[in-house]
Amino acid sequence: MSEAVISLAALPPGERGRVQSGEDGHPAVPRLLALGLLPGTEITVVRVAPLGDPVEVEFLGMRLSLRKADAAAVRVEPFTAR
């Protein structure tokens, strides 16, 4: 279960995952934390923009678009059994 921890940027569209941690020192992390993206929060990648970046994610009923470079600062544990 805990074997596969990937970056949020690598989570394919339509997949859900659970946040594990944020990269220390990345400027996006404090802002995501303020939005409630804490360890343990469930997050879904809704879609990727047509030009490949940014991605739109959904968590706690909020929809947010962020660049892959920022999404990469978040480690998530994908829900493999859906």
Partner: protein
């Protein structure tokens, strides 16, 4: 409670972006500040008079913020205002925290930070209608009991809850009602004490515990700067030591604040908020599945933009004709009355009516453009545009958040440049400020449609005309990409900053809001036509009309004495006067600079006169051609006059002045040039005069280069 009522209460509106603060502000104060369905509409604080329960109060609308960590200039406004560190600004007596009821926990995060600063608080549960529709139910009374402050259900768009809010605010002020504190662990308290001691040693004035927590938790809090930390001293050792106290107790410093606050808020809201059992697929999700679709998304975006420009043509046409006919009728009516005073007649007929009337003709087109921009803003499509386009912006070092300033600049660069305040990175913000004026603002529309209407539409039809208009609007954007890229590469070297943009739900635009904005815009335009443009018109007229030495007339009449046609002679006299007028002399002196772009002295003069405000070119050409017009042709239509103008001297003598390449070169010049005093001033305000001058110079050079290239390539390909 009795309290001296001499001083008006100061009440601040704070909250996350796009929660309806300004809508509420407008409701309570009767103001008309701008609202829109995307985060970051308000970027400056705004004041309004409010009378809760008959007491005098000043209500302050602040830019939205997710956190007091304040990462962009607009968010800092809120922080500075609340901590009272702005010069001449006392701290507010109470704060109305506007909370989006659909997303209450996340919204209360900011409320809890605000409460931490020791300010009495009222929670306005706004957008309650939308929340209830999705099945979210909030027990306001229970929540109020848990939080220790009033919680009022509001629907700002309909004014629901305003009365209850008045009472709640007075209760909060008089009772100094403070929101329940987060039970800070002992380690946080120790770290705060440690910080307080450290700051005291540096001679910083004592701070509130809430402010100390900001310094402790935020990476680089603005509070530290404002509180008088000596700029030469590095705060890092002190901050690290304080944060080590947290680490030692097992609290990671970065997520500590979020974890503690959200844990507390989770407890507080647990039994007061009921979420729907099963989440339904919302309307917004269904719309987004199409509008931000991989393939359809971009296609629809392009189509939408194209449609906007087609409709500017199609919808505005009939009204424009009506105005044109009216202007011509006024001209005809007025002329005979003033026949006794030729100079006055000329000033009124050729100067004022042609100049100001000629500009007024374009009002309908500008309103159509504004109507569409308002639709994009109010439905929520703006944020989708940013989502679709961010990659393109990112490539040249801009930010997806540059999209809003840049799109707003299509209406007018002044608010567009102000909107750049939502951009966190100072250098990305500066880049945005410098390229926003390249976006084709509505003041350029008259120039485009004059040229297109005179030289493209008659021969190529309305569809091509619409396409050219679209291309003219695209040009600035296309040029902005390499410009921004070079600025980043060679001048500013911006660091990419996080780009986080909340996608607002789609909302039905409110016709009243849109009409109000159109009216404001129309008024602004009319005022401009009645002041700047009127004044410029009079000056231009005088420069065209004078001097009038009698020899010119005598010489012309003598030369044409064989001709037995008084009206032709009269025309030749006017033309001769025009050729030796002050403006003609100045124009001919400068014309060589613009000769490579195919401009004659008249266009040159039009270009030069338009530096204070673009629309002046219409007045200038109108006046020149009005005074020099062919009497027998009798047409006041500028488009017609332009098409008939021939070169009198030089190697192109006898050929038309305006050809398709010349018309395109004029459009390109106006598209790229910064001919707007107001924009230069706002650039200076938002950056500094150095950058404003830089922006002016680079755009002028670019415009000249673009016009020359267009003319040279155009004559080669399309033929002169």
């Amino acid at each position: 409670m009795s309290r001296p009522d001499s001083r008006p209460l100061r009440i601040a509106l704070v909250g996350n972006p796009n929660t309806g603060k300004t809508t509420l502000f407008n409701r309570l104060t009767g103001s008309r500040q701008k609202i829109g369905n995307y985060p970051g509409v308000t970027v400056e604080k705004k004041y309004g008079a409010w009378h809760p329960g008959g007491r005098a109060a000043t209500l302050v609308d602040l830019p939205g913020a997710y956190s007091l960590a304040a990462s962009s200039p607009d968010e800092r406004v809120a922080l500075d205002f609340l901590t009272g560190h702005l010069a001449g600004e006392a701290r507010p007596d109470a704060v109305i925290c506007v909370v989006d009821a659909s997303n209450i926990v996340r919204n209360l995060f900011l409320a809890s930070q605000v409460a931490d600063l020791g300010l009495p608080l009222v929670i306005a549960l706004n957008m309650s209608d939308a929340a209830e529709q999705t099945g979210i139910h909030i027990d306001a009374a229970l929540l109020a009991r848990h939080l220790g402050v009033p919680v009022v259900r509001t629907v700002a768009t309909r004014g629901e809850g305003s009365g209850a809010l008045e009472k709640a605010v007075l209760r909060a002020v008089d009772g100094r009602l403070l929101m329940a504190q987060v039970p800070w662990p002992e380690a946080v308290q120790r770290a705060v004490h440690y910080l307080a001691d450290g700051l005291e040693k540096e001679g910083v004035a004592p701070l509130e515990p809430g402010e100390l927590r900001r310094i402790l938790f935020d990476q680089r809090s603005a509070v530290l700067e404002r509180a008088g930390w000596p700029p030469e001293a590095d705060p890092q050792p002190l901050l690290s030591a304080a944060r080590d106290i947290l680490s030692a107790a097992g609290l990671q410093p970065v997520p500590a604040e979020a974890l503690l606050r959200y844990e507390h808020l989770g407890h507080v809201t647990a039994d007061a908020v009921r979420f729907p059992e099963k989440r339904r697929r919302t309307r917004t999700e269904r719309i987004d599945a199409v509008l931000t679709h991989r393939v359809w998304g971009l296609l629809i975006f392009a189509l939408l933009m194209f449609l906007v420009f087609q409709s500017i043509y199609a919808w505005a046409g009939p009204v424009m004709e009506l105005i044109e006919v009216t202007v011509a009728a006024v001209q005809e009516r007025v002329a005979p009355w003033l026949a006794a005073w030729p100079a006055v007649q000329s000033l009124v007929v050729d100067g004022l009516v042609v100049g100001v009337g000629g500009v007024l003709v374009f009002l309908p087109q500008i309103l159509v453009l504004f109507f569409f921009i308002a639709l994009l803003e109010d439905t929520g499509y703006m944020a989708r545009g940013a989502f679709l386009m961010d990659k393109m912006f990112g490539w040249c070092g801009l930010n997806g958040k540059s999209f809003v300033p840049m799109l707003s600049s299509y209406a007018c660069a002044v608010p567009g440049i102000l909107a750049a305040r939502t951009i966190e990175d100072p250098r990305a913000r500066l880049t945005t400020v410098l390229v926003s004026p390249l976006m084709s603002c509505s003041a350029r529309l008259p120039v485009y449609t004059l040229m297109i209407g005179a030289f493209i539409e008659p021969s190529h039809g309305a569809v091509v005309a619409g396409a050219v208009l679209f291309a003219a609007h695209l040009l600035g954007l296309v040029v902005a990409v390499p410009v921004a890229w070079s600025l980043n590469r060679f001048v500013l070297r911006t660091r990419t900053q996080p780009f986080l943009l909340e996608m607002p739900p789609y909302r039905r635009p409110r016709l009243r809001d849109i009409l109000w904005r159109l009216w404001e815009r129309a008024r602004e335009f009319l005022v401009r036509a009645g002041t700047v443009i009127l004044a410029m018109t009079v000056i231009i007229w005088a420069l065209v009309y004078f001097p009038r030495p009698p020899e010119v007339r005598e010489r012309t009449v003598a030369a044409l004495s064989a001709l037995n046609d008084p009206s032709a002679v009269e025309h030749a006299v006017e033309a001769a006067y025009l050729e030796q007028s002050l403006l003609a002399r100045a124009g001919r002196a400068v014309q060589p600079v613009f000769a490579p772009a195919g401009f004659d002295w008249k266009i040159t003069v039009g270009v030069l006169a338009s530096f204070p405000a673009r629309e002046v070119i219409i007045a200038t050409l109108g006046t020149i051609y009005g005074i020099g017009r062919e009497v027998d042709a009798g047409s006041g239509d500028l488009r017609f006059a332009l098409g008939r103008d021939l070169w009198t001297h030089g190697d192109r003598a006898g050929q038309p002045v305006f050809t398709v390449p010349v018309a395109l070169a004029v459009m390109v010049f106006f598209a790229l040039c910064l001919q707007c005093g107001a924009t230069v001033a706002v650039m200076a305000k938002e950056a500094n005069w150095g950058w404003a001058v830089f922006g002016f110079v680079y755009m002028t050079l670019l415009a000249w280069l673009g016009a020359v290239l267009t003319y040279q390539l155009g004559t080669r390909w399309l033929g002169g």
